[in-house]
Symmetry: C2
Subunit: 394 residues, 2 copies
């Protein structure tokens, strides 16, 4: 067997605080508005990907969580073609480089979180794919340049190439060359941001985000006003709040923008629903908690599904997690923070948090984290095949 | 005891198809946008009110469903003062009239529907109050003029002074003199409009509509665009659809506007929720039904609570009610239509309608109906007190 070249990386999940919803170009994944997200720690949620290339390989193959997945989709094809073209340029200018651009790829990818949890894994997945291949190809391109490629795989993936606090600037060029991610602040600049993910079971299949955002963009009368008037203003305010580490402004905008994203979904025809009664109970509980505290101690945000993500600062961990533990004492996930003591602020009735018990299946305690990380742990064996059939949880 | 003068009327409920949400003047109940509603039949839902006046009465008293209610609230006070002033004018120009304007009022009011059902009863209640007193006072004022008074009691009450299809024109004068209801079409002009109300139990106390609409008007960034841009266009389109009896356009706008009303509630801070998972299941079922039919056979609309109101034409009764009966065979309310046969269109899975069973407690089958009706049945006895302590259902 010919030599196998490989590179491995892990890449993070990001959860938007200013939501991406709507494409102005579906082929290039160009958005109708800029968005902002927090990159979460890879200790808790990550995709681990090894990209390998060899003259012996006969076709491009991708194994995701042990199962072979198609690499012929338009999105994956576009990413691979762009990366190969960049490698080809390098090879053309330096003939001593092995011709990896002409070799087929074996890519092995694994998530360390349950795929059934409905956590947006495509962002971490495409970020890891792009990062691993770029490392394999020893590409000199910056994160910003790679983010343009990742964007074509999955829009929000462009934000997962950075750690910390990340903006996806929508750009305005037709070819998408100015639609890319930039870092607003590193995780070290504002390290005390924590996140708790409440995994809520969905009773029925939700509308895919691609379908949902097209329905909204085409049919919601309020959508145009959101993307043209509301979001540009919020983008400036939230960027500034992050730079100033102003949690209250950041949190207030995060909640308002989650609600407005779901509002334009509801304003669509047919209406698109992602939150359910459990999600709404989480909102009520957080609103009540903030109202009793007289300041914003936690912010909720919901993506295209019923799961809640709460952002809070480390200093408020005991009050935020104390309340959640009182409501949901038996969840998988608490073992990570054995010191949390269940406690309920005066003024919150047990009715309010009892209603959560039915619908929340798991809590994931995490926080802001860094960009994709190189790792020596390869998922590809000497035979060019995945080392492990399926290590991921079901 | 001195002579008791009295007049009795029944007044209808109306359910908005273009929603009233937002006040530009809270004292005068002036709305931020015009609205449209359908007046429902009084056979099924009505308030019955007797207004009586006598020199012997020592104070104004209102009995609602057998319980004495305050008449000193600003809204009721404003209505009574305006009606008395109109009566006083009549008396001043004709000295043979008894001086009813100087007599205290005993008002007895009863609803024929369960107050616990969360059906907006204040519209019917204030419409009946205004109509009964106007009849007692033999006021020559038109419905349009009386609607300005009813509006001050409860905004949407102004629409319950007419039968059929009714518009509340928001007006633009500061004193509210041009904010009044007008009839778009009589019930006879489009008689085949049917309505099915699905009474959904709310687990927790909802935000009152007064509080909710103030929160939205003050905090929702999308609200201004809705009232200034979206609603004026929809108002024209829906008025025209009613005049042309174009059910598809009427129904499409009805659903879109219900969804947009709830969207701006969600866009508020804190967000205001009225629909729950059961409400959303009703929406999904109706959307699926229409999609399978290839035309709009039914429209849903939701007010400030989880109850669904479905509008449909008599010709489609078997398909709409057949599906509801299959989903909810044991509900109170079906006895009114014993001929309805449960039937499910091909393509609708039992999962879709099974989810309704948990949350719907009652169905009310009704349709478009007439304006308030005079009745000889008085609720005030010869002693000036209510004839019946409490005939209403709990």
């Amino acid at each position: 067997m010919a030599k196998i070249y490989s590179a491995s990386t892990t890449a993070p999940v990001n959860i938007a605080t200013l939501k991406y919803w709507g494409k102005r170009d579906t082929k290039l994944n160009l958005p109708t508005n800029s968005s902002i997200s927090v990159t979460l720690s890879q200790d808790d949620l990550r995709t681990h990907t090894t990209a390998s290339a060899s003259e012996s390989f006969t076709r491009d193959i991708l194994w995701l969580n042990g199962t072979e997945e198609s690499v012929t989709g338009a999105r994956t094809t576009a990413c691979l073609a762009e990366l190969r073209a960049l490698r080809k340029k390098l090879e053309d200018s330096n003939s001593s480089l092995p011709p990896l651009s002409s070799y087929k790829l074996h890519i092995v990818s694994e998530n360390n979180f349950p795929t059934a949890a409905g956590l947006a894994s495509s962002a971490a997945g495409f970020a890891a794919l792009i990062r691993a291949i770029a490392d394999l190809y020893e590409l000199p391109q910056s994160e910003e340049e790679l983010s343009r490629i990742a964007r074509q795989g999955s829009g929000s993936a462009c934000r997962s190439l950075y750690g910390g606090y990340v903006a996806w600037e929508m750009g305005n060029k037709e070819d998408g060359s100015d639609s890319r991610a930039v870092q607003i602040a590193t995780e070290a600049q504002w390290p005390d941001m924590r996140a708790a993910i409440l995994v809520v079971s969905a009773k029925k299949k939700e509308t895919s985000s691609t379908t949902g955002m097209q329905t909204t963009a085409k049919t919601s009368p309020l959508f145009k006003y959101r993307v043209e008037v509301v979001v540009p203003e919020r983008f400036k305010q939230m960027s500034k709040a992050i730079e100033k580490k102003d949690f209250e402004v950041f949190a207030d905008l995060t909640m308002a923008d989650s609600n407005q994203f779901h509002a334009v979904c509801l304003d669509s025809s047919p209406p698109v629903f992602y939150m359910n009664d459990v999600s709404r109970n989480v909102i009520s509980l957080v609103e009540k908690l903030n109202s009793l505290a007289g300041r914003i101690v936690a912010a909720y945000t919901f993506d295209a599904g019923p799961n809640a993500v709460l952002y809070y600062l480390e200093r408020d961990e005991s009050v935020v997690l104390g309340l959640l533990k009182a409501a949901l004492p038996d969840l998988e996930g608490w073992q990570k923070k054995p010191a949390v003591i269940a406690s309920v602020p005066e003024g919150i009735s047990s009715e309010m948090y009892d209603s959560l018990k039915e619908g929340v299946s798991r809590i994931i305690l995490t926080g802001v984290g860094p960009s994709p990380q190189k790792t020596g742990e390869s998922l590809v064996g000497d035979d060019g095949l995945p080392k492990f059939s399926n290590k991921s949880e079901a």
